[in-house]
Subunit: 296 residues, 2 copies
């Protein structure tokens, strides 16, 4: 018999993951969201329950997938709310936590689940809305391997690439590292193109040369032309970049490492947020480096 | 009749470019070097002259290729030495300048050459010794287009990729930008791998994830494993990185741009040089970020 699935946090990411599993024939039995209309609309669409109680929701399912916004929301649904995911029947259930939260929150949640005879794994996502809908997420998994093996097949239906990283918290760490390096490379590209522009160099030629040399990077492909043309429609916001690079900075401090490049990048993205430009795509950092652009 | 070629600066790069052209049947008629034994050895190998006078050398050739070390050496061979490349017969000759020097030196040299009825172009190289020997350099060309067209075919025999950038100085600017972005990305990678290591993450897995996500870059391919394994055999030295990133910083200052990422990168590479580790490959920057490594 197919295992029953519930979702907590059905914003655009969570809702699209639920749609994907529903479409493949998995029984999605219940959904919840801190913004209740999200849950009600999706419940109607999928023909499932939208319980107001999290312990009721957990009681209805075998697998509970959580896609909440931050550390505070994670602690809320697993611990600080009186009615939470672990306050009812929990034996044998498995929680799959997809939110971008700090490594230590994943470790804490795993401990709480174990104490209640349940299991948990983290499945950090490095992709966006369309990939959630089409089942082509990039997933980084952390937790106990035996827990992973219980949901590996299910997760493979949500992803095109999935990598097991290590114990609880390590997938979140890797995600923070990916975004840290990505954001530094983005800031680097903005400086390169901004200075090239100031020197009167044809930026089409410059981007071509970058792509053929040691300056090449994934962000050159995804953000280079956008920086040149000031097309900052948001895929991954500057505010999000500031947050993720700050998470990496905190990890660095607790490991007692100096990370001057990341510090400079955090400074740039925070500056962008302070200027009220946090909703721009991360490519918007070029507004800080190109001469004569509005941001100063 | 084939045009006669002379070389000024026949260290490993210049000598290999001369060998390549000689092998293809071009008449390499004279070579010179500030370290005279270099010139004598190559002249014997190729069966050509090794005049002590630069004006004599220029008089013997139609095309003079210069591959000297820095701005000072460039000004010396074109201007400040009493006997220089422009002090004898110069009408109709063309100079191809391959050294990594500042954009303004290229502009100055072009002016000096024009005043003596000669032409000059810059051909900046983004490759190393083996590519010089095999004629597979990456060349960025700057100068007047009509001068470029006079030597385009010859340069194509030295290169696998050649891009015309713009007026004199712009190729040097682009090279500085390429190295600036490359060095920032290298410093970023070192921070990512160093922090990952401190967090106990398997670096083989981390590099794989980086390669599949927004953290991917050319330097991940060329330097990632070397950083992990502390294999810093030199292809492009840390001292060289410090110099090139400083050139970019100076360009930024004169354009009145703020480049905080490049500033941080200059700081890291200068620190490495100060620690006596300037001869390491640029990947050696990882010695500054990994916990427990010698450099502090």
């Amino acid at each position: 018999m197919a295992r029953k699935i519930a979702f907590v946090g059905v914003g655009r990411m969570g809702a699209n993951m639920a749609r994907r599993l529903h479409e493949l024939g998995h029984p999605v039995v219940a959904v919840a969201d801190s913004h209740r209309p999200n849950a009600e609309a999706l419940a109607e669409e999928l023909g499932c329950a939208a319980p107001t109680s999290l312990s009721d929701l957990a009681g209805m399912a075998d697998i509970i997938i959580t896609v909440v916004t931050d550390d505070k929301a994670m602690r809320s649904i697993f611990k600080t709310r009186k009615d939470n995911l672990l306050s009812g029947k929990t034996r044998g259930k498995i929680f799959i936590n997809c939110a971008t939260v700090s490594p230590k929150t994943h470790v804490e949640v795993e401990k709480l689940c174990k104490a209640r005879k349940a299991a948990s794994i983290e499945a950090c996502m490095a992709s966006s809305i369309p990939q959630a809908r089409s089942g082509s997420l990039y997933l980084m998994v952390g937790g106990e391997k035996r827990s992973y093996s219980r949901v590996q097949k299910l997760l493979s239906e949500l992803s095109s690439t999935m990598t097991y990283i290590g114990p609880a918290g390590q997938a979140a760490s890797v995600k923070a590292l990916v975004n840290m390096v990505m954001n530094i490379n983005t800031a680097a590209l903005a400086e390169g193109l901004g200075l090239g522009d100031a020197l009167g160099i044809d930026l089409d030629v410059l981007r071509q040369v970058f792509s053929q040399t040691g300056a090449n990077s994934r962000v050159l492909e995804t953000d280079g032309e956008d920086m040149q043309k000031r097309d900052h429609d948001c895929y991954f916001s500057a505010a999000h970049a500031a947050k993720d690079s700050s998470i990496a900075a905190a990890l660095g401090r607790s490991a007692r490492l100096k990370l001057p490049l990341n510090d400079a990048t955090v400074g740039q993205y925070k500056k962008l947020v302070d200027l009220g430009l946090g909703d721009l795509d991360k490519s918007g950092i070029a507004e800080l480096t190109f001469k004569g652009r509005s941001a100063k």
